[in-house]
Amino acid sequence: MTSTPIVDLSGVSKSYAGIRALEAVDFAAQRGSVHAILGENGAGKSTLIKIIAGVVSPDAGEMRLAGKPVRFANPSAANAQGVVCMFQELSLIPDLSVADNISISDPPRRFGLIDHRAQLVRAEALLARVRCEDVDPRTMVRDLSLSRRQMVEIAKALGRHPQVLILDEATSALTARDVQTVYDLLGQLKGEGVTTLFISHRMHEVETLCDRLSVFRNGRHIETFAKGERTDGEIVRLMIGRDVTAKYPPKPPQQLRPSVLSVDGLAWETALKGVSLTLGKGEILGIGGLDGQGQKDLLLALFGVLKGVRGRADIGGRGLPGSPVEAKSGHPRVALIPEDRKTEGLMLPLSIADNLVTAAFDRITRGGIIDAARLEAAVQDGIARLQIKVGNPKDPVRTLSGGNQQKVVIAKWLMTDPDIILMNDPTRGIDIGTKQEIFRMMRDLADGGKSILFYSSDYAELIGCADRVLVLYDGQVVRELEGPAITEEAIIGASLNLGTAA
Amino acid sequence: GPEIVAGPGAEPECFAPWSADTTYMQWPAKEGPFKIAIVNGFVGNTWRIQMIKTAKAYAEDPAIKDKIAEFKVVSTGTDAPAQLGAIEDFINQGYDAIVTIAVAPDGFDRVIRLADKNNVVLVPFDNVLDTDAVMQVNEDQLAMGRTWAEFVMKELAAAGVSEGKILEVRGLPGNSVDRDRSIGINEVIAADGGKWEMVSVVGNWDDGTTQKVVADAIAVHGQFAAIVGQGGSNGVIQALKDAGHPWVPVAGESENGFRKAIAQYKDDGLKGISIGQSPGLVAVAMKAAISALEGNPMPQLISVPLPVADYTTLEDGKNFWSDLPDNFFTVNEFPPCGVNISGPAIMAKDESDLN
């Protein structure tokens, strides 16, 4: 471990409009290692890798690549030197084909012009490497599911022959099978001497994949150590500065709950093929299964977004809501924490305060006119309730870290005082500490008589958190698990629809 | 195409040659009835509407009705390619004559060549072309401008005014009549001994626009010694009234309202002259087209006299009507040609139906 580090940063600082994102960071990664970067939301991880990848330039400090000082003016300069990054927010172009995207900036050419045929061949080869033979390189990226997009993104990165490959929460939406593919790939790359910098909030991924770990907190590099040198508990303490004893709050005993929502034979287009379920008062009902089995459509249907849904539904004596407006103002009130906070949950340029109240204008107005005092109170209340770390509530919500943005989304919906909360993978990209707070809050809400329908792509969360779990496969509930029967094997087995035997 | 022939032409009292040098054209005679199209450019003002109505009424006139097999009117707006396209399309459709108000004085070379190739008679009128390759019908625009300016200079001199600002209200930019009138006006004023400062605004030949720009000009410049305006003269009067601007000599077109105002305020200083382009020119042009198709020799440039009236010659019920609305052009008929559709008849009658 004494050879020249491939990436070496010293004294790097960066602030955004007064907010310190990184402070005097020294960081090094060795050639051929898989190096995890850990830290809670807002710790500065993304900022660090953006600096390495040439997306933002540091205010101070310097960077060496294989010993040579470098300063990237833009991402293409970094690419040219073998630094390739998969960003937390995808960098694919939705309206171009998969093949176009994979060879986006340096396509094969004939007579100086892009050679579509060669591009296709190249895309097929790279997709095969990430075991995505099912993806047709001519489809538009916008028609792919999030998990497929992440795989395409990985294929695109591979195609750039990285020396240093950076994955910033690139696996947050991946399902078990794809995660395995990524493991294998990283293993291969390591063999070829490629360095991987890996950011994830999924501790088990970090444990299986990485050789070294660096922990960041509040923009500072706290410590770097080899895998196994520290226990999980110690790592978490380094990250969030305190102990996390139990990640999940205790579940109440199994009990009979009056139903607040039940659907029977819910069908929609080709995505839902007769889903039946009952959600009890005060219950956290988990939804599992491989990505894209209709879970998201189910939540959208219950929230009134989909048209032409068939089947019976009973929500407090009424059918499905016809629109989100009806959903949130009906009886019982329904809320949806949507899939993508950046485009569906938040209005990034608007202030934190404005975002907090967008679902609950009636709480801040009298006769349609905004009451300044009520507005102020509602905003303070929302911030306090989820302990959102904000400087000034008038700052654009864009300036918050991912985790805090997610809290804003949740707080916004709690402000409507919903009876039924639909959650679409609410902890995607959320750090351990915050996750714990969210789970705590979910349980408190449930104990307070709210009901939660909770989809997660992370089985561990379902196991730790849900009172009952339904596993969806191909638009149908294939398995219902309850109490001690909620195990990883059971969920994975049902997800792959491996017969009905337990 | 037409042959250049020696005069005189047919019906000289109607188709008067522009000048002694005017050449004559003759097309091979065709069997009627004919297919005739009108391709108007701009549609935005009263004059053009009155023109279109006159054309349609004239096509029904017993004197020519039987000579017309098909009659179509299109308005293309001010876009040159669209106007050229429409003319060419009518040529392709086998129309015999196309009467048009050109959106620009140049640029018609191609359609002229095509018309000649197909023996189609193309007759620009009102806004005519800068060419002698086609037969055209118009009043003398340069003379109109000069007469306006001379009148105003004479009235100012009579009132003992020899310096000040003169407001010129122009028509739709880029058209030939706007250009020629303006040249005439400015030529005369420049030659005058007085110390005149010209201020010019664009009124698009439209009352409303004119009223607005004149009001704005008064707001900015204070007072004018006189106003010389193309179509939209009602607007000039209205703007003067509204601003409480003293009555001064005004030259304008033949709108009924303008003439009414001159008659009413001539003693308060509104020494007015009203020379209108007649929307009835369209009828003269149509008649000329038919005559040409019948094989008659025609002057290349047909002159229709300027219908001059000023505060000394206005007469209620004869060349204006105090009981009729403001909004039509009084001069419409041209008896020497048998064009007897009067302004009130074509424009005011619907109004009275309404009320």
Partner: protein
């Protein structure tokens, strides 16, 4: 094939609409399906088609260029001075005209890129500047464009050859298959084929699509954002100059017609949308906008065939346009996931 249609649904719809309208027009026309009619139609459509192409490029990267009509007018005014004299003079004049429009487009690009202004407002302002310059050049319409050139460029290939005594005055056997094709159509298609299609197949061209689709993603993917933006506006300037050049040839004059400039700019947006290019960027193409422009034009052709009250013509034209753009709305009603309405 099905995929291509599906991925270019707007374009496919536009082509079908145009074909239907055009065929019916020709059936109704006494001399339908003749080269004379085609020549006339082509002449009338070339300028707006070029302006529509110009508008497409910025729109693809989610910016509007409100100066295209003005740049066309400016170019036409320049051309009206230069398209005369010897063959060499004229050739240089053509190049100079194209250069002026292209340079103006580049200026737009520089302002948008380095001034970091929204294209729509930056070009609203530069459009005024272009019109001002055009008015300085041509306070009155005028000019002296070479007559033969005008004739040759606005007719069939045969006439072209005939005018310049090429290919045995147009009678050469090898010219026969093309003899009846309108020169304006060849110009239009030639520019599209030789400039637009190759450009689309460069990284810069692709970057324009990428910017319209997801600018942030394009940037982090290492695409040349600034170069693409400059290229987009420059290309828009070039196509606008082509329109101006043609306009000058067609009318043998330059006319600093503000109203016409404004109308062409607005119609170019309509053409772009009718062709199926998304105003939100990322989807569509210049070829599609040519079709859009043709649809706009063919609507007005009908007024010369059918007997329609002249004073109602503008109203009907508007209604047809409104209906045409609303036809796409059936998709809105068949959308099953309302989120798809908000992309």
């Amino acid at each position: 094939m099905l995929r291509l249609v599906n991925q270019n649904r707007g374009f496919a719809g536009a082509v079908s609409l145009f074909v239907v309208l055009f065929v019916i027009y020709n059936i109704l026309h006494p001399r339908g399906f003749s080269s004379a009619v085609l020549v006339q139609n082509a002449n009338e459509s070339v300028a707006i088609a070029f302006v529509a192409m110009a508008q497409t490029v910025p729109v693809l990267m989610r910016g509007l260029d409100l100066s295209v009509g003005a740049v066309m007018t400016l170019s036409a005014c320049v051309a009206s001075y230069l398209l005369t004299g010897s063959g060499l003079d004229i050739s240089l004049g053509i190049l100079a005209t194209l250069a002026v429009g292209t340079a103006f487009g580049l200026l737009n690009g520089l302002i948008v890129v380095y001034g970091r202004l929204q294209p729509i407002i930056a070009t609203l302002a530069t459009g005024a500047v272009a019109i001002g310059l055009a008015l300085l050049l041509r306070p009155l319409p005028g000019g002296d464009v070479d007559g033969d050139l005008g004739w040759a460029m606005t007719n069939t290939v045969w006439d072209f050859a005939d005018t310049y005594g090429l290919a045995d005055g147009g009678e050469a056997w090898w010219l026969a298959p093309f003899a009846n094709i309108p020169v304006p159509l060849i110009l239009l298609i030639g520019v599209a084929l030789l400039v637009w299609l190759p450009f689309k197949r460069t990284v810069t061209g692709r970057t324009i699509y990428a910017i319209g689709s997801a600018e942030g993603a394009a940037y982090v993917s290492g695409l040349p954002i600034n170069r693409a933006k400059l290229a987009a506006f420059t290309l828009a300037g070039f196509f606008s100059a082509c329109a101006g050049l043609y306009l000058a040839l067609q009318t043998s004059t330059g006319n600093a017609d503000t109203v016409q400039a404004g109308a062409y700019t607005l119609n170019s947006i309509a053409a772009v949308v009718l062709g199926g290019t998304a105003l939100a960027g990322g989807i569509g193409g210049a070829i599609a906008s040519i079709v859009g422009a043709l649809i706009l034009r063919v609507i007005s052709f009908y007024f010369r065939i059918l007997d329609i009250e002249p004073l109602l013509q503008p109203l009907i034209e508007g209604l047809v346009l409104l209906i045409a753009v609303s036809i796409g709305a059936w998709r809105t009603f068949s959308v099953k996931n309302r989120l798809e309405l908000f992309r």
